[in-house]
């Protein structure tokens, strides 16, 4: 069935509050009509799991935006600040930049880092008075994971809340259709993150003794002329800012689930062997980044739709993650799904898959494990507050009582 561009576009009201809060019914309706829709002259939306998993990671799916997509009007685009990182590079430059962090995030190293997360969480929990309300998002999601990242990088803790919201502001520009004033707000957020981070990195650079973190390794490579200053700085900002906010959403979703489903909390406590699958299912239902965008540099065909080179393809993560062709009762939490029906897009896929995903999964498992082991129940102490665009979601507040 083929729709006009206008009809197809109307199915994805990217800026609508209702759609943003719950895009799943819209994805379902659109998927029932066709797995691929053309929503503007040169934009396509792919909704099914099989095609997404196959196509989104083909080497021809470039991450770098072709010049034809450069937003008209205000310049520079705030995210050009990350032009020298894995976020904007394709192979072979991408491979070179990716190698900078590989050694720090191996399956073996993750064990060491997750023990730190454990200790930071215990410190916070030990300070809670019985019945005291705690913000599960900030105090138990952002903080322990950010502190862990600070240790990996050997960076100071910094202004965690200020940086969290600066990142949020910076991300706003990535909405499909950002509104008025967003460009300036995004640029301000980006500038704040970079200024704060650069100040700390400069301090490290001029310290008598080098530290022992990933950033010190980047600085040493810079000293040998192997990395430019921008490469050092941009990669540092990227890591420094991703350590807390991203896993925090997954962790927060876990707290919400524990509050709604005490039975699942009990199972998490009693069966450590299910924790990996449990966290994966939590990730499937609660992606943080909501759309993967790629620009094929060759003509390709997906489900008989011919997509010319240079087009923009949107792969909504939530659409693939809840495709009923793969996931039975896709909206239900079920950590017992077989392996072939549990692969999801939450951490991306292929060459550009999240480099920190093992860390985020381990941190989530450790924090939720501690909660399940120390407490018998999680109770929401107020309505959880979320902020959303069509591209991103975060908790603002998630007050809970642990008992």
């Amino acid at each position: 069935m083929s729709l006009t561009i206008e009809d197809a576009s109307a199915m994805f009201p990217w800026n609508d509050e209702g759609f943003r809060a719950d895009p799943y019914p819209a994805y379902e309706r659109a998927r029932a009509i066709a797995p691929v829709h053309r929503t503007t002259e040169n934009t396509y939306v792919v909704l099914n799991h099989a095609d997404t998993m196959h196509n989104a990671k083909l080497p021809c799916m470039r991450i770098a935006e072709p010049p034809s997509f450069a937003a008209a009007g205000e310049h520079p685009h705030p995210w050009t600040a990350f032009d020298n990182t894995v976020l904007s590079k394709d192979a072979p430059e991408h491979t070179r930049m990716r190698r900078l962090t590989n050694r720090w995030l191996t399956p073996k190293m993750i064990g060491t880092w997750a023990r730190l997360t454990h200790d930071f969480t215990v410190e916070t929990l030990d300070k809670l008075a019985p019945g005291e309300v705690v913000d599960a998002h900030f105090d138990l999601g952002v903080m322990p994971t950010h502190l862990t990242m600070c240790r990996i990088l050997d960076m100071p803790v910094g202004d965690v809340e200020g940086m969290f919201w600066a990142l949020w502001d910076a991300m706003l520009i990535n909405a499909t259709a950002p509104g008025e004033g967003i460009h300036a707000r995004s640029l301000a957020g980006m500038n704040f993150m970079f200024a704060e981070t650069e100040r700390y990195v400069r301090e490290k650079q001029s310290a008598e003794e080098p530290g022992n973190g990933l950033v010190d390794e980047l600085l040493a490579a810079h000293g040998r002329g192997e990395l430019t200053w921008r490469e050092v700085l941009e990669t540092t900002v990227l890591l420094y800012m991703s350590g807390g906010p991203n896993p925090a959403y997954l962790i927060g979703a876990g707290f919400k689930l524990f509050a709604e489903r005490p039975d699942l909390m009990a199972e998490f406590r009693e069966k450590p062997e299910i924790r990996e699958a449990f966290v994966n299912e939590l990730a499937r239902l609660n992606p943080v980044e909501l759309i993967i965008t790629r620009f094929p540099n060759e003509d390709i065909e997906i489900q008989d739709v011919r997509i010319p080179a240079g087009s923009c393809i949107k792969y909504p993560i939530g659409a693939a993650n809840r495709d009923p062709a793969v996931f039975e009762n896709p909206n239900n939490f079920d950590h017992n799904r077989p392996p072939e029906a549990s692969r999801n897009l939450t951490f991306g896929l292929g060459t550009h898959a999240c480099a920190g995903q093992l860390l985020a999964r381990a941190e989530t498992s450790v924090i939720l494990g501690l909660i399940a082991e120390r407490y018998s129940s999680v109770e929401l102490a107020g309505e959880p507050l979320e902020v959303r665009t069509d591209r991103l979601v975060a908790f603002d507040k998630l007050p809970v009582r642990l008992s």
Partner: protein, 150 residues
Amino acid sequence: MTVVHVLYGTESGNAEMVADDIVAAFRGQGFETVTAELTDVEVSDLAAMEIAVFVSSTYGEGELPETAAPFYDALMAERPDLTGVRFAAFGLGDSIYETFNNAIETLRRALLELGAEQIGTTAKHDAASTTPATELADAWTRDLLTLMPA
């Protein structure tokens, strides 16, 4: 006791994990195991190894991991006679790449060319599959053990 050298090349630690899994599966089977990253292996030591298990991922565009490349380059430059050396091969890759598991093939071909003899089949883990590398490593090592009585 026969010494089995488990030699790995890795970018992000998966091959290292597989090397550990292989060593674990060898435990209690009557072998002594030594694990080393290919960065730390001298080509000249290879000829003296009775049994070597090579584990390597593929990276970039079909290349060996960056830290394993010097070993391979030295191997091709020095071309030692490896007659009498027996080896097994375990690769890690992702079938989305046309160069799926190129690196272990590259290593394997070089070793055969220099006179080494392969034991068992070449394992090729696929990151796009749902099988964890650890599981494949376990099963593959168990098969391997049937071919090499202690």
